[in-house]
């Protein structure tokens, strides 16, 4: 099984795309609330409330985050929280009302329509919730569509498209039409199409939400496998916290257009910023989030007979090994140096203390 953990360190620290105080306001005259398109306002919450009072709709309020090169950045939130608006602002399918978006350090919002088309043709790819396939084109033509728009010749198109077709495992279905495919296969076409132009920045807008749970899980694995191979910079939108957890290097939780918290999945679970975040993290099996590094006893010495695992292995995957090795398991860091030993007792202790922090646990003890 491919997991994101195999991906090792969560990308470099070079920023690929950066949002600075981005606002999107819908209504009659949204520009009036911002001077010269600047999104920096004193108190963002108060400003958003003020805008809402005038009958305008605030879809994104003062959103700022960075996406690093090679990283999977997940934006999570319930429907209407502004996550889809944000990914559309990043691709300029929606024009932000105020704020800045920097792509490779250049202001994306200042690009002319022609430059924007050029950026979309070469730097960006996007996958849609309902696939957005063209009903009149077969699988091959759908996937090669962006290449055809660029005016690429047939033989090069064939070559490029067949590469991504192979990547998503659609060989043999090239001549099928979208309506002849299952949902999972249609989304593979969507993924292949978005990758055909070999983008640097990959947007996925709830790509697996329309699929049933078993297929969804399978597609997540596929996605992680592809990402391991390609190392794109990714913005991934989902409303499913468990999905975010599986794939995110870092994630942002949004509510009412604003970012509530940004961090690694473990950060969010260990230190939720507020009750809203806690609501989501409450459902997560703790063993899946806790890693070997959080349960390791650094005072113990590892023996040579102990099996060795990396520090970011989840406790969930550790459990069967612990059952076999009563004395414990050696934990090593990214550079392969043993940092300590994890025993069954360590795990039990960690699980117990985490469980006590949960909202429902508090209710039960009250």
């Amino acid at each position: 099984m491919a997991t994101k953990k195999a991906n090792g360190a969560s990308g470099s620290k070079t920023v690929k795309v950066s949002c600075r105080n981005v606002w999107k306001v819908y209504g009659e005259a949204p520009a009036q609330f911002f001077s010269a398109g600047s999104g920096s306002v004193g108190d963002a919450d108060a400003h958003a409330a003020k805008i809402r009072d005038t009958g305008h709709i605030v879809a994104a309020a003062n959103v700022s985050f960075d996406v690093h090169v090679g990283e999977i950045f997940v934006i999570m939130g319930l429907s209407g929280s502004g996550k889809s608006t944000m990914v559309r602002c990043l691709s300029r399918l929606v024009e932000p009302t105020a704020g800045e978006i920097l792509l490779d350090g250049e202001d994306l919002l200042k690009k002319s329509p022609t430059e924007l088309i050029d950026i979309r043709r070469h730097k960006m790819g996007m996958v849609f919730q309902s696939f957005g396939l063209l009903p009149h084109l077969n699988v091959f033509d759908n996937i090669a569509f962006p290449l055809k728009l660029q005016g690429m010749g047939l033989s090069e198109r064939r070559e490029r498209a067949s590469r991504v077709i192979e990547l998503v495992g659609l060989e043999g279905r090239e001549a099928s039409y979208p309506r002849q495919l299952s949902g999972g296969q249609q989304q593979r076409v969507g993924i292949a199409r978005s990758l055909a132009v070999e983008p640097e920045l990959w947007f996925l807008d709830e790509p697996f939400s329309a699929l049933d749970p078993l297929i969804r899980r399978q597609m997540q694995d596929e996605f992680l496998r592809i990402q391991n191979q390609l190392q794109k910079s990714i913005v991934f939108i989902t409303h499913d916290f468990l999905e975010a957890l599986r794939i995110a290097d870092r994630m942002a939780i949004m509510r009412d257009g604003a970012v509530v918290q940004i961090g690694t999945p473990a950060d969010l679970i260990m230190n939720p910023a507020d009750d809203y975040v806690k609501e989501f993290t409450g459902d997560v099996p703790i063993a899946r989030v806790l890693t070997a590094s959080t349960v390791v006893d650094k005072t113990k010495k590892a023996t040579a007979r102990m099996p060795r695992v990396s520090a970011d292995t989840s406790v969930e995957t550790l459990l069967p090994q612990l059952a076999d090795h009563k004395t414990g398991i050696a934990v090593e860091n990214a550079s392969g140096k043993v940092i300590g030993v994890a025993t069954a007792q360590n795990v039990v202790n960690a699980l117990a203390s985490e469980a006590a922090k949960r909202p429902d646990a508090e209710e039960a003890s009250a």
Binding site: R88, S91, L93, I117, D118, R120, R121, H122, M124, G125, M126, F128, Q129, S130, F131, G132, L133, L134, P135, H136, L137, N138, D141, F145, P146, L149, Q150, A175, Y177, Q180, G190, R193, S194, V197, F203
Partner: protein, 691 residues
Amino acid sequence: MERIDRTTWIWIGLLAATLLMLALRDKAGWLIVYPTDWVVPLKGMLNTAMAWFEATFGFIFRGISAVLDVPLKAVQVLLQWLPWPVTIALCAVAAHAAAGWRLVIFTVAAMFYMVLVGYWTESMNTLSLVAISVPLAIFIGFVTGVAGYYFPRSERLIVTVLDLLQTVPAFAYLIPIIMLFGFGPVVGLIASLIYAFPPMVRNTMLGLRSVPAEVIESGLMSGATGWQLFWQVQIPTAARQLLLGANQTTMAALSMVIIASIIGGTADIGWEVISKVRKAEFGESLLAGIVIALMAMVMDRITAGLALKDRSDFEQSTSFTDRYWYWLVAAALAIGLFLAAQVFPLFRSFPEGWEFYPAEAMNEALEGFVLAFRGVIESVKSFAFFFIMLPARIGLEQTISPYSWGFEFTTPLKIAYLVLVAGLAAWAWVRGSVNLALTIAFFGILFFFGLTKLPWPALLAMVTFLAWCVGGRGLAIGVALSMAFILVTGIWPQAMLSVYLCGLAVVISFGFGALLGIAGAHSDRVSAILRPINDTMQTMPLFVILIPFVMIFKIGEFTALLAIIAYAFVPAIRYTEHGLRNLPADVIEAATCMGCTKWQLLWQVKLPLALPVIMLGLNQTILYGIAMLVIAALVGTNGLGQQVYIGLGDGDFGVGIIAGIGMAIIAMVADRLIQAWSKSRQEAFGLTAQQ
């Protein structure tokens, strides 16, 4: 008994006022007949305005007419010059491309019929009009639709104009077209353009609007320019809707070409039918009518086949022969048959001696049939006339006589009628349905005095108040003004005749159609039988529907009534079946679980829930009825339809256009009243009706 609310009091007041006016009718005749002195001389004004307009801008229209005449003549000459096997072969190739071998057989058989009965020349004249008008109408419709899609502000204007173009009877705008564009086939072409482009506009806007947002976004993210997005993403995605629009436009163009042939000078198949119907030559008119019906069916099947075709076989192959297979076959067939025609004169022109034209025999057979069943036919006709039509038109008061009913309408009988109506109304009132009681009282008055003899102030007030009840003040004002137009232009009596005939036909065809629709919704077999009948009736050109009824019942109002019913019952069936078949499944299941019997389920659950959709069907029934009313005027009615003909015959723009607008007003008032009512019901149910 519950307290009587204000609305009910007003209704009672209106009914009482009606009776009072009827009591005063001998003293104040103006209550029944709107005085001529009060008529606004709009006709004259319109004619003056038209004369001025024609004198000033006429050259533009005559220019357009001259320009359009060139391609029209060219196509006409081409189609007449081509040997008939070539034309048939080309159509057969198109049929194969659209829907396979079965349609090829049908197409060839249908077109060979045109050759066989000797109507080939006339058919090709009709076809050449259609061949020019359809591409033009599609182009105009497409461009207008795209404009409507990109400029939402213009959309309202476009939709209003389309509504008007489609509700004003086609005949009515033939008049200004003749005046502006002159006579000749080009008039038919222009009329058919105007009549046929609206469906393309609607379908273009609908198609473009229903392209999913994500598909557009995916096009944008693929780096499409505006032009690429439009032609490579939006148009192909909307293709099916656009092609359905093209299909509807083709059918509308054909039907208008046929209608326009009434002005003559076209030597086409429509003229053949009309002139034969007028001369009461039934065999001839039927043989020509079949040509039109076949032509309509072939065109419909081919264009619909192309629209609904699965395109998966296409575009797969890149080899030249595979891609252009149809064109190659068509070219080979055309050249081969053309050369054959040079050798065999039979292919050049079909020998007259071989033609099969059994009109005489048909006339004789019909005569025999009519003679044999004269008793039955006459009694059906006089029963309908004396017991249904006349009471609705002039009231029992004047209908009942020893000649018609076999006895006098004496005072005791009148009292008995009064007691009956009052009794029924009182019974409904006691049962708690006040609306039913009021309805009974109204129809009691209507049938006693007759619709055309009711005082106009009362009708005006009642319809206006009805509009206020179902749609509020705005609707009431609109309805009152529209009816006032009919009144002050002096066409009220003709309008009432139209309302009477059309209303009667609508009631009958709606009742009949709704029953069939209910049967169709509950039995797949019935539905399978009804569907081809519905399809055929809808593609059948209006004139053709007249023929069988004229054959048997001769010219007259009863024939017109039957023809309207035959045309208007289709939407009633369709909408009833659709409404009943598309109810929320969980509601039906819930009701079944509660122990509803089949009939309870139908009456208490399904029909009330499906009512909004069924009402849309009633709406369509009325619109169809009014459309047919104009055509039916050909066989002898005295309503607005006849006025339109008079205008057309005399070249009197004012008379024709006012009558045309009058019919449009009747259609629109009925439409708005039903829509408003249906909408309020839907909101109450939290349902939305699908078109």
